[in-house]
């Protein structure tokens, strides 16, 4: 089972991202996914988490994800030392930051088992959406980190679950995120979406 843990502040779209990733990941036959937010008092700005689980078998465990294959920080102010405890060995942490992964590991610690990838998701979405809403960038990024979730599946999920007026721009964000993952500003090793 692949597990993704999303960190965000209320209003940043962490749960929307978790949900879209779940929807995209389970489009194909024989694939199952669960997506849910951390349940608690919520308000704009308060830290929250969301979870996506993906598997080739029905998922009966509805517990929150504690150690994930991918941990996404939609807000870099939520990243702190001790981040390693939330990643599985071989896993990957994606951070919405204009700083480099080298800077982030210098500030918050490194790990032999897991690595940090820094993406300026705010910048990408500002350029393409006009607003710093980082969540779709990470859908694109995760799809680029392996070969079991395709860009097309992400785009299908966008078309099925987002309002029509947002489709085109968000699909372009997916493409841009994948380009960034392929070509530039990625420090560290490639991960694999198993």
């Amino acid at each position: 089972m692949i597990e993704i843990l999303w960190h965000g502040r209320g209003g940043q779209g962490a749960f929307t991202a978790a949900r879209l990733l779940g929807a995209a990941s389970s489009l194909r036959e024989g694939r199952y996914a669960l997506a849910f937010p951390s349940f608690g008092p919520e308000r704009r700005g308060a830290p929250m988490r969301a979870f996506t689980k993906v598997s080739d078998a029905p998922i009966g465990d509805r517990s929150a994800v504690t150690r994930a294959d991918y941990v996404v920080y939609l807000d870099e102010t939520l990243l702190s030392s001790g981040w390693q405890a939330e990643v599985k060995p071989g896993g990957c942490v994606l951070v919405n930051s204009a700083r480099s992964a080298v800077d982030l590991t210098a500030a918050f610690g490194d790990s032999a088992d897991a690595h940090i990838i820094a993406i300026d998701a705010n910048g990408i979405s500002e350029a393409l959406l006009g607003r710093p809403i980082p969540n779709t960038v990470f859908l694109g990024a995760i799809s680029a980190l392996g070969n079991t979730l395709s860009a097309d599946e992400v785009k299908q999920a966008i078309r099925q679950y987002m309002p029509a007026k947002l489709h085109e721009k968000n699909e372009r964000i997916v493409d841009e995120a994948r380009r960034v993952m392929r070509e530039g500003s990625v420090d560290g090793k490639e991960g694999t979406l198993r």
Binding site: R19, G22, A23, S26, Y32, A33, L34, A35, F36, P37, S38, F39, P58, I59, G60, D61, R62, S63, A64, T66, A157, Q160, Y161
Partner: protein, 447 residues
């Protein structure tokens, strides 16, 4: 059509397909999304229903009953305190034999105040004449919405039906569901025929009257008999029709997984059954004769089927998200009665978990099976008196599951050791160390 939906959203789709004519509802977390979605559907014209905004749950069910008394198919939904607030109307609806369908989002009851999922609300109200079913996942929830009407409205049944969904674990968790087409729904569920149990200017009736000592018992006798005898048969018929139309097959009042040759069996209901399936599968793969008994319907209570499924077990655990204070969990009470009546004497143990939204983890379930194996081994070695080594009632996260030291040698195989001698999680889902007390301190059983 496949869609990635929450349990609340999926249930709303099922209700839409059932085409109720009157919906009356009051919002309460974690049910709110169901009634919101339905109101959107009514507003957009997707669902042609009369939507009554009421000021309380008591009015919600009263209005649904009033509408049912005019011959309309009705729907309402609630949770915990709302269910309790409408509790007096539950008996009216049931005694009046109105086939209302209500979705209950299982949620903890106050005090202390808590919005998260557990099953105290509905399990405390088993006695009021409503059929009660418990969904394991969002697909079953959606399907139960349709099947509930088909069962409730059947001429042989004629009683209200409460469909229970675990708060947040189902209501707010997204997963894929297949939404039937309207034509498929219509093939499963014919239009409501009140068959005279309604106001009619052409055939005036007296409804909702009183019945004194010389007659009252007959109403209660038939309500009981109809529920006990007719409901299981009708459920079977409806499920067969459901399978013909959608291809999805449901197994009736209970589902027994690997119980035939099981040494140790876990009995549970709702979404926890989904968790336990995976555990049983892993245990079986490692050679443990583990079984799972999922109770789908708590009312009517499938006593004989439960007894049959458990007849070979050496130790049985009932895992539920409620407690009847000063006694034991209500599902445990019901299961024990069924076993006693069938002459089954295997020791049974109650595990109370998930209260107030507390997480029940895979490790918890594994530890329950380990504890059952332990006590079964001790009974084999030392006789029935050894059954008291495991307390009758254990609260996950408070009491210990620490069986006698030395259990490891009887069980064989690998046991994760936390220093207390048996399998134990180090930390629960969100890292809250207070929940790690599950297996740390042994306390005396609750008397």
């Amino acid at each position: 059509m496949k869609r990635f939906l929450s349990g609340d959203e999926a249930f709303a789709e099922g209700v839409r397909l059932a085409r109720p004519q009157v919906i009356s509802a009051y919002p309460i977390t974690p049910q709110t999304v169901v009634v919101e979605r339905l109101s959107e559907m009514v507003e957009s014209g997707q669902l042609a229903a009369e939507y009554i905004h009421v000021e309380s749950e008591h009015s919600a069910l009263s209005a649904a009953m009033g509408a049912a008394a005019t011959g309309a198919r009705t729907f309402t939904a609630t949770s915990s305190q709302g269910l309790l607030y409408m509790a007096e109307v539950l008996t009216y609806a049931a005694g009046g034999r109105f086939p209302i369908v209500m979705m209950n989002a299982n949620r903890a009851t106050a005090l202390p105040w808590n919005i998260y999922g557990d099953q105290r609300d509905s399990l405390a109200l088993l006695d009021h004449g409503w059929i009660q079913a418990y969904a394991e996942n969002n697909q079953e929830a959606l399907d139960l919405a349709l099947m509930a009407y088909a069962v409730a409205e059947d001429m042989r049944v004629r009683m209200p039906f409460m469909v229970n969904l675990d708060g947040f674990a189902l209501t707010h968790t997204y997963e894929n569901v297949d939404i039937p087409e309207p034509s498929e729904a219509d093939a499963i569920l014919p239009p409501y025929d009140a068959a005279g149990n309604c106001f009619d200017f052409d055939h005036p009736v007296n409804m909702g009257y009183s019945a004194g000592p010389e007659f009252n018992r007959y109403y209660k006798y038939w309500a009981h008999r109809d529920m006990a005898e007719a409901v299981p048969q009708v459920v079977s018929v409806v499920e067969r029709r459901f399978e013909e139309v959608t291809g999805r097959r449901y197994p009736g009042m209970i589902e027994a997984i690997d119980c035939d040759d099981a040494e140790v069996v876990l009995v549970t209901l709702g979404s926890v059954a989904g968790l336990a399936r995976g555990v049983v599968s892993h245990l079986r793969a490692s050679g443990v004769r583990a079984g799972l008994l999922k109770i789908r319907y708590m009312r009517p209570f499938p006593a004989r089927q439960i007894a049959r499924a458990l007849h070979g077990a050496e130790a049985v655990a009932v895992l539920e998200k409620d407690i009847s204070f000063g006694a034991e969990g209500t599902v445990f009470t019901n299961v024990n009665s069924a076993l006693q009546q069938a002459g089954i004497t295997a020791p049974t143990y109650n595990f109370i978990g998930g209260l107030g939204g507390d997480n029940i983890s895979e490790d918890h379930v594994v530890s329950i099976f380990r504890a059952l194996q332990c006590v079964a081994a001790q009974v084999r070695e030392q006789g029935r008196a050894a059954a008291t080594e495991l307390p009758r009632v254990t609260f996950l996260g408070v009491d210990s599951l620490d069986p006698e030291p030395g259990c490891g040698r009887v069980l064989g195989g690998e046991l994760r050791d936390n220093g207390a001698g048996c399998a134990a999680p180090s930390c629960d889902g969100d890292g809250d160390s207070s929940k790690a007390q599950v297996f740390s301190v042994r306390e005396t059983e609750v008397r």
